[in-house]
Symmetry: none
DNA sequence: TATGAATGAGGGTTCATTCAT
DNA sequence: CATGAATGAACCCTCATTCAT
């Protein structure tokens, strides 16, 4: 990578990070491009050298940040020495939920537009900075489980949507229950979902 | 209700309905107050006699339309002659999913900001026009089920969030599967959720 | 006309006049909407209540000002007691050329985009303020001439385009000759054009 | 001409040609310098090594392209074996009108700012690429006519402005008549103009 | 109550021009 | 000579909100 390219990448990350801070603190709608460039210390025109508009930034950030989060969870899992497939997924779920509970800005930012479509693209394609790929990690976990599964993708979809949407409500509003109260219910339901997808 | 009050209510409903049409057809962000009042045939100032701003309208509509949808499903259920509790919930789930699939504008409008908090307020308090109450209906179904449940509210929460978020993805993007392919998975999972909440 | 309507018309004329001053002094391209509203003493948004954009203003002004100019010439003609058709047209030509020579801002403003199409619309439809119609005047002159003409519209077209474009160059650049030197040539040519359209 | 100079000239022509394509296809106002350099495949800064701004390019192009057009007409005339002066001018007029009718982009580009001043400079001074000179050609035609003329320059001026401005309207808008309908009128008028300038 | 003309801050976007490499 | 990233002033336009009628 040439010096110029590196410089370019630094400028882009600078913009991304500052945009992320603003998005998570005051929300996307209330963040203007003027805000972003001012915080990043560059001229307005510079923004348009790197991004099409605000939503271009948003999409890249969602992909990027989600990817980081899941890979972080996966790295933690590797150190946790869990062997059972169910336990491993539960571990990841807990890890992600705890992280999001500790960073509500990130949660509300990711959640608003994290469709499965975006999510999958995220997991599949290595993002700007990470050279990783959660899809491969998931596949590895499936292989190491000792089972065969029907529709493993749908299984993951059900789990992520369930955990994501209930987790959002619990963390943001403690409604209808707090995250701690929610977790046992979730754990049981996730185990059910896994079992009902095991091929007999 | 006096004549003046009736007139006021009519004006308000006129604005609500026209706003709803615009919200579901072109989206909330791209709908301006100017659009709403023009379509409704009233002056701009009049809008502010009835609503604080666009989001005031939005919140009332979400509550109202969600309520209608669930009560419609419940009315249909009454004609369906189903007795088993599981079957009855599945029926409602199917009914709602099919309605939303047939009206994607409504789906994306409701979904974007339908937190459990809003939803619960909806179900509990009779809205502007309906004099009904889905919470009472749900309670009745629980009573008639012949079972006792642990945390019935959490149970409903899990089901609604799961069905809502996976349904959204399937209907809007057919990703990762179409609604028809999703339904069997959902049905099985919902039954699991119900069973794990039955008090032994 | 109601009081409100009158007020509205005054506001519009205020904007038109100020825009005209700017257009003729600094040119259309260098005149911004910000300039216009500042000079007119109204808010930016007000501009858009009356006009689509800068070019909307321009078109209305061209029509309006051209119309005024020709009708002024026609009014002067009526006082001049000329009877011969050729002399009358020459009179109008001279009048218009002298006016434009005395007001180069108006000339360059009108000339740039005064296509025959715009001109004809102008002459035909009474404009914002004038209730007059040069086309009718021209027709009257034809009737009173005692001749019959082949293609009188084309005849007028030839004269106007010839006089307009040569006049522009003479007045603005004195190139290749001054207006005074040009006039005899023009007069002779215009008389030729008229004669060649007289029906035998 | 040195190798370096040749290279410089090639770069310049590359920019001119690409600018011309853009000017005639999308118009001058909507063509940005970014567009030009992108199409030409050079860097933005390079543009400023050769031209002051967009209007510098425009002026050079108008002169260049007009010159080409007239010399092309003159070359065609030489092959046409016409002897009468009137016929020869009419031939050139028709040739130019037909060319412009076939290339409306060129017409609207040339016309907008083709003042007589620019035109004369064009005819007189050999341009960037052509080593020709329409003024000399016109003088030769006058000499070969067998007549003497009063103010031959004004005569040409009248003809060019008349033909140019009426031709523009006919070609671009077919208003008030099509080019084919216009031509006989023009021919007759042009012959009149010539005759009235013949010295007795 | 109802109106709708007027406001003006604020948004997004473009683009000619510069200058360090 | 050539580059092209960076600049930032300038632009157009939208729109929620107010208030005199």
């Amino acid at each position: 990578m040439g010096k110029a390219d590196q410089n370019k990448k630094r400028k882009m990350e600078n913009l991304l990070n500052n945009a992320f801070d603003l998005f998570t603190s005051k929300g996307i709608n209330k963040t203007s491009i003027a805000d972003i460039v001012e915080k990043a210390g560059v001229a307005k025109g510079t923004f348009y050298l790197y991004f099409k508009d605000k939503y271009d930034v948003k999409n890249r950030l969602i992909a990027h940040k989600s990817s980081l989060l899941f890979m972080e969870a996966y790295e933690a899992l590797k150190k946790a020495n869990l062997t059972a497939f169910e336990d491993r997924l539960i571990f990841i779920m807990d890890y992600v939920l705890d992280k999001l509970a500790a960073n509500k800005g990130l949660l509300s930012f990711i959640y608003k537009d994290l469709s499965w479509a975006v999510f999958k693209r995220t997991l599949t394609s290595p993002s700007i900075t990470t050279e990783v790929d959660f899809e491969a990690a998931y596949k590895k976990m499936l292989d190491e489980s000792g089972y065969e599964f029907n529709d493993p993708e749908v299984m993951l979809f059900l789990i992520i949507e369930l955990v994501g949407s209930t987790g959002y409500s619990s963390i943001m509003y403690e409604d209808p229950v707090s995250l701690d109260e929610l977790k046992p219910h979730l754990e049981e339901t996730v185990r059910s979902i896994i079992r009902q997808h095991i091929k007999q």
